[in-house]
């Protein structure tokens, strides 16, 4: 028997793998929670698309500064040592390869590292792109945080080929799901880690793409 991670569990698992000194952008959804699980004494510098470098913890309601929000338009604080830049400079950080890591949510990831996270169909009437395409192609490494399977049908989001419109091609390095941690390699998805009690075979059963056993499995 095994217990899938909840959304916080995925966020905490990701936080474990972020070393001190990295510049990191966290997407909306599960990724936003990652910063809560980085210990305060480990200096990781979080960036937001709207020009904030060095996001601190959420403020107490009485300390809210209306001039200070993140890319999800939530009130934030700034860490000592943080800085503000304008939107083009902020995306120069994202697109110019200066982020050590970006963590995005997604609908699907394919075995060659494609990510689909902005539309469920090419015919969707209104497109919600935001900054994901910029971050996906620009960061030094892209990790994805998502549930392994869709909610209703239990279909695999870990795909041979993405069925949804792409955000970017061949950019995902690693996927953190509620069941496992998978590396995207030239040979395909390699299983780095699984939740306790889950077997490789059971994971493969829940996964459309063919998985490869990692060194420790």
């Amino acid at each position: 028997m095994f217990k899938p991670l909840d959304r916080n569990g995925i966020a905490a698992r990701i936080a474990r793998d972020i070393p001190e000194g990295w510049f990191v952008n966290l997407g909306i959804g599960i990724p936003t929670g990652v910063s809560d699980f980085v210990p305060e004494d480990r200096e990781v510098i979080f960036h937001a698309e709207n020009g904030v470098i060095g996001i601190g913890p959420a403020p107490a309601p009485k300390d809210i500064n209306p001039y200070l929000v993140n890319a999800g338009v939530q009130h934030i604080t700034l860490r000592t040592g943080g800085a503000f830049v304008h939107h083009a400079d902020s995306f120069a950080i994202a697109r110019g390869g200066h982020l050590d890591l970006c963590v995005l949510g997604a609908f699907e990831v394919s075995e060659n590292g494609d990510i689909a996270n902005w539309a469920r169909s090419p015919d969707e009437p209104v497109k919600q792109v935001g900054g994901a395409m910029d971050l996906a192609v620009g960061a030094k490494r892209l990790w994805v945080a998502m549930e392994h399977n869709t909610k209703g049908g239990g279909e695999s989001r870990i795909r041979r080929v993405c069925s949804y419109p792409l955000t970017a091609k061949g950019v995902v390095r690693r996927v953190y799901t509620d069941l496992a941690v998978l590396d995207v390699t030239p040979a395909g998805f390699v299983v780095v880690d699984m939740v306790e009690g889950l077997t490789f075979e059971a994971l493969q059963e829940r996964t459309e793409a063919t998985l490869i056993r990692g060194a420790s499995r």
Binding site: E49, V52, Y67, V73, F84, H87, A88, S90, V126, M133
Partner: protein, 218 residues
Amino acid sequence: MIDKFVSTRAEAMAGIADGSVILLAGFGAGTPEYLVAGLIEQGAKDLTLVVNAGGRDDGPIADLLASGRVKKLICSFVRPASVAGRLYQAGNLDLEIVPQGTLAERIRAAGAGVQAFYTPTAADTLLAEGRETRVIAGRNCLLEYPIHGDVALIDAWEADRWGNLTHRDSARNYNPIMAMAAKMAIVQTAHVVPLGAIEPANVHTAGVFVQRVLHVPG
């Protein structure tokens, strides 16, 4: 004596022509709301609005769209459940969706005299369909053109009579680059300061990019 201050909102908005391209700064903070109300009041129509996102059901962007004066919206995303989303789905609004970083870079390009640029952002996506791409240094890239504004609506924390500005915290966002990219940058500032009060090394938007300033105490 150079003095870019105007004393009324009507004066600030004077002369905006029908069909203008309006760059509207702001991202959660830093939206010049008083000037947006002034634009609606001023009455120019058939506008192209360039803004980070299409807004929600209320707020300055929704108000401007609901006024029926905007013909085309250029932004990085639109919520289906919003004034913008409904206008678009009803066929009453043209929409150009641009990835947010490309949007910022296209605006900056207009301000900097860059005539076009190649970026890998969106090159392998639906947004590239039918458009010019090119492989550079092994990466597929999309050709993007500058977005010039006739008018930029800008928010500032401090301003002097030359139009030098500071922006507060994350309210900076699009303000400096939209001021650069427009023929007429109109500013609402929370504070008026004497010339020289802003440190020369710490001017966030230089007066060379600013045409009119209105004092709108916060």
